[in-house]
């Protein structure tokens, strides 16, 4: 086991090391940490409010345990969801595993080391979300010291089971996926499958909980009835909740032992199953498939196109074919619109359906300003734009000796992030027009505003990346991992547009058309300015990035 520890230490060091970070990046981390403080306080405030309200409502019915149940269920869901990404990228997408395989390590030892960073990120979330929630629950229920001791232990074991379940499922899938020939495509598919899985579970839970309203009364009156109902998809959440609500009783202790045993068993299973499955899924992942050569296929692909289109197509192809880029860029920007649509579709009675028609009764100005605000936030973090330059990595120099004007290369990259934003805007459009039944004029005004906003967001992200690109990566993940600069454009846009929205909201200006006209004028002005600064930055930096 000491070998495994050493390996883990090396892996953690390599992944979290600050040594390769520039002073600017370090300053960036500090700045972000500073910004997180008010944000964190806000979250704590929310959590405290929710738990307080729930406790006051549920306690008289003897159902306060459901708060913990919900909490543990939610955490399990969040942990599984996050683990899909981190496990795939750490276990399978990271190519560094190839340098560990020839060394005399057992698969479980490598697996152990590789789990460290995904696990650490889970504990980060665990500390931010679960720990304060458990403390607030303790405060509201007036719990004694015993509660806190158990709460800390439960807190420590909560991430284990969701993490292990997710990784075992993924290892199982990858073991078979590895048989396929096109490794890259498989990686992309497995990543997608993970997200489908999450949406699927959500759908299942919702379908299952619908139409049982008549039982609700029974559930509420029965002690812990609600808890059983809420946690029926994930028993460990039930065990944890009982441990903390039936403190000092035999049942409480029993469930505590049960959850500890289950977690220990999970780790054991993880390592033994991992020992059998892991290498089978990982071997040869970096290889690729050779097509059967067909002359016509090649001949068909020979055609002349404008350089701009050719550049754009090359970028899109690289994004779609590189698993890390695909999951970080395409899936991330399309996931939430799709998730939202699925949720609304499967639950036609939800308050959101047909909500758009209510918009007519609201003040036009406020509607459009609110929608614009949401769009700014939604398009603000745009991984396609802030990875525009960095994606090229060491291949960047190819743009320099080829006779393509810098402006054309930059434009093609802007068009790529604009296009990807456009796809999410189209998805939101479908949701808005057909499900929310939003009035056509409101949609049209919003859509025009959003297109310009998206263009500005693309410029902002690209400028940040051009200012401080990460070109020396050896693994595509480095383009995104720990590069918090993606937040900078969002912060910038939120500040600028936040002020504009605020001013317009409080101004005497009335009517949806005039507000839109003013907003559009401002947006066009902003994009002209942004373009000007972008051009200057291109002149200054384009040939000096290497």
């Amino acid at each position: 086991m000491s070998k495994a520890w050493k390996l883990m230490k090396i892996m953690v060091k390599m992944q979290l090391s600050m040594s390769s970070k520039s002073a600017m990046e370090k300053a960036g981390y500090f700045f972000i940490a500073l910004m997180m403080i008010p944000f964190g306080l806000l979250i704590l405030f929310f959590i405290q409010g929710i738990i307080g309200n729930l406790y006051a409502t549920l306690e008289p019915l003897g159902n306060e345990s459901v708060i913990l149940g919900l909490l543990f269920m939610m955490m399990a869901f969040i942990f599984s969801f996050i683990s899909i990404g981190t496990v795939l990228s750490s276990f399978y997408f990271a190519e560094d595993v190839e340098s560990f395989i020839p060394l005399p390590f057992q698969p479980y030892q490598i697996l152990f080391g590789k789990s460290a960073v995904p696990f650490l990120s889970l504990y980060g979330l665990n500390t931010v979300l679960l720990l304060p929630s458990l403390i607030f629950y303790g405060l509201h229920s007036g719990a004694g010291i015993l509660y806190y001791v158990f709460a800390i232990i439960i807190w420590a074991v909560t991430p284990i089971i969701p993490f292990v379940l997710t990784s075992i499922i993924l290892m199982f899938i990858m073991r078979f996926a590895n048989i396929s020939k096109n490794k890259d495509r498989t990686k992309v598919l497995v990543g997608l499958l993970g997200f489908v899985f999450v949406i699927g579970i959500n759908v299942l839970v919702r379908i299952d909980t619908g139409g049982e309203n008549e039982d609700l009364a029974r559930l509420i009156t029965e002690q812990n009835g609600l808890l059983e109902f809420v946690t029926k998809f994930f028993p460990p959440a039930y065990f944890s909740s009982i441990t903390l609500t039936e403190l000092g009783t035999f049942t409480g202790l029993l469930y505590f032992i049960l959850i500890i045993t289950l977690s220990a068993l999970a780790i054991f299973l993880f390592l033994t199953i991992g020992q059998k499955l892991y290498f089978k899924g990982v071997l040869g992942l970096s290889g690729g498939k050779r097509n059967n050569f067909k002359e016509e296929n090649v001949q068909k692909q020979v055609k002349q196109q404008p350089v701009l289109f050719s550049l754009w197509k090359k970028e899109i192809r690289i994004i779609l074919r590189t698993p890390t880029f695909f999951t970080q860029i395409v899936v991330q920007s399309l996931f939430f619109p799709i998730f939202l649509i699925v949720l609304i579709i499967i639950d036609p009675n939800s308050p959101l359906t047909g909500w758009g028609s209510d918009l007519n009764q609201m003040e036009g100005k406020k509607v459009i300003l609110a929608m614009f605000g949401m769009t700014v936030v939604a398009l603000g973090i745009n991984p396609a734009s802030f990875s525009s330059i960095s994606r090229d990595g060491k291949s960047w120099f190819n743009h320099l000796y080829l006779p393509i004007p810098p402006s054309k290369v930059i434009l093609s990259k802007l068009l790529v992030s604009f296009f990807l934003n456009f796809l999410s805007l189209m998805l939101i459009t479908i949701a808005a027009l057909f499900i929310l039944e939003m009035p056509l004029t409101i949609w049209l005004l919003w859509f025009v505003l959003s297109l310009v906003t998206s263009w500005i967001a693309s410029i902002a992200g690209l400028m940040i990346d051009l200012y401080s690109p990460k070109l020396t990566w050896t693994d595509e993940r480095e383009v995104f991992k720990g590069r918090f600069i993606g937040i900078v454009p969002l912060a910038l846009e939120a500040t600028i547009f936040g002020v504009i929205i605020l001013v317009l909201w409080n101004s005497g200006l009335e009517g949806i058309w005039s507000v839109t006209a003013v907003l559009l004028t401002i947006l066009v002005l902003v994009s002209v300015c942004a373009q000007y600064f972008l051009n200057r930055l291109v002149d200054r930096n384009y040939y000096k990035l290497l």
Binding site: D184, G287, G288, K289, R290, N291, F293, K294, N297, V298, Q299, Q301, V302, K303, Q304, Q305, P306, V307, S310, L311, K314, R317, I318, R321, T322, K394, S395, F397, N398, L400, Y401, L402, P403, I404, P405, Y543, K544, L546
Partner: protein
Amino acid sequence: MMIEINQISKSFAGKQAVKNLELSIPDGKIFGFLGPNGAGKSTTIKMMTGILPIDEGSISMNGVDISKEPMKAKHLFGYVPDRSDIFLRLKGIEYLNFIADVFEVPKEIRKEKIEYLTKSFGIYEALDDHIQTYSHGMKQKIVVSGVLLHDPDVWILDEPLTGLDPKSAYTLKEMMREHASRGKIVFFSTHVLEVVEQLCDEVAIINNGHVQFKGNMIEMRQQFKEDDNLERLFLELTQNE
């Protein structure tokens, strides 16, 4: 004179990589740029191709200054970089098409060229595969094919023979000879003396950022015997591989 390099200098973080380098390369020659690792070969080539900005001095090809009219100059040469792990996620044919689009090669010529070049290098049947799946030599060959697509006047090749199998190396050398015999320039760098001896009409030996010798092969051998410094350099160059 087709390539004129006038007193160029380049330094990185205070360290001078190239000092007042002066070279003129006439038409119709295979020109070898010889030097040990770290001599400044790649830096010079990167300045010639517009990858690195020139600190001092100027470079022109056919009278076109690379710093002043970069787009025009870049149309004149074809450049094979020393690293071939580029565009890995594209298929061979997609890469060639992209390069041909950049140089605006018309469809019919492109078709013919792609077929001729890739068949000569024996990679025609791999064109529908991702470059990622290619061996090192195949990657080198696809890059060379791309460069030759638009039939540039000047070929600039950074260590082009590394990683090529004997047959492909032979093919490439033949192509280089043929190109020079048409009155065009082949400029290539290497750290292997033997390659220069086999192939070059003229050679420049570079060390510590400046030219130590320039002339034809007979002159070079003569100099090696007379000049102590060059002799030491010669040993270094022959020991290298």
